[in-house]
Amino acid sequence: MDNRPSSLADTLERVLDKGVVIVGDITVSVVDIELLTLRVRLFIASAQTAREMGMDWWTNDPFFTPKAVNRATEVNELEQQNTELRDRVAALERTLEEKRP
């Protein structure tokens, strides 16, 4: 169990997106709440992706995270394999063409 003080994302989500809405001409519009909510939702989504509120920006940086390097190498290897396979398919197709009467 993990009980920590409320994060900005949690507070924003409630204060901006929940609670009683007062409508009608008794209110003065000071802030475009829809636009603000939209922006905050994007912010919250990115905060959730980054596990600790933007504190893990380095996780995809190969310099800081060897795993990210691995991922990069994996992609390279896949590309290489792909090229090799393409070459082989092309070679086989050529052979087939040549054998065709």
Partner: protein
């Protein structure tokens, strides 16, 4: 500097000093208000939200006032950025929504909101394709899909078990790396029971369960009030 009457919350009219904000009262009901500099809100929707940005400061202020009221009395938090067209407008609102607002206050009285979040397990290691056979790969893939489905079902079971111990509950839309993001409105005398249940479920789940709160009942006061 242009000033406006910022409204934070609706509560019962029996609150003592709030150090700053004051009450506009009407027959047992009150609106918590303060005079604010409206320039502080100008262009705020264009800024990128940041931990120490102007939006964060305003939002935390709003939350602090709502919480100060909530310490003593049941509260209906108003949405951020509610500015009223003067004290007359406030009275008109309280008159028009008197019964309704009192009923909502009864509903949240003696209860606090708790947020509960369960994260999906970290992505499994990628398969080394050279070391598994085709059947082996398919078996592994099925196993992982089953595990993901099981995790989703367990999270759903957590939600149902907690809902039974709460006066009300609501699930939020959540990102794909979350299995559960929910809020529960819990009677204060049931809180120990509620937290014990979370502990038990977390043990069963074998995954951390994050709790936020206690919150004023933000997630359980989704209502629109007009002055007519």
């Amino acid at each position: 500097m242009s000033c406006g009457l910022y409204a934070y919350a609706i509560t019962r009219d029996r609150l003592a000093d709030l150090a700053g904000p004051w009450l506009i009262s009407y027959q047992g009901l009150a609106l918590v208000v303060a005079e604010v500099d409206l320039d502080r809100f100008t262009g705020i929707e264009a800024d990128e939200p940041a931990e120490d940005g102007p939006l964060a400061v305003l939002v935390r202020e709003h939350d602090a006032v709502v919480r100060a009221v909530f310490q003593h009395e049941p509260v209906l938090p108003l949405r951020f950025g509610t500015v009223l067209d003067g004290a007359d407008a406030a009275l008109r609102l309280l008159r028009a929504r008197h019964e309704e607002a009192l009923a909502w206050l009864d509903r949240v009285e003696g209860r606090r909101e708790w947020g509960v979040r369960v994260r999906a397990a970290a992505e499994p290691e990628p398969v080394d394709l050279d070391s598994v056979s085709g059947t082996g790969y398919l078996a592994l893939r099925r196993q992982r899909l089953t595990a993901a489905e099981d995790a989703r079902r367990s999270a759903e079971a957590v939600h149902q078990a907690l809902t039974r111990r709460a006066a009300d509950s609501t699930c939020r839309d959540h990102a794909s790396d979350l299995l559960l993001e929910a809020a529960y409105l819990v009677d204060t005398e049931n809180e120990d029971d509620f937290h014990a249940e979370i502990g038990r479920l977390a043990g069963e789940l074998g995954q951390p369960v994050e709790i936020t709160g206690p919150w004023p009942p933000y997630s359980f006061t989704n209502v629109e009030f007009a002055d007519a």
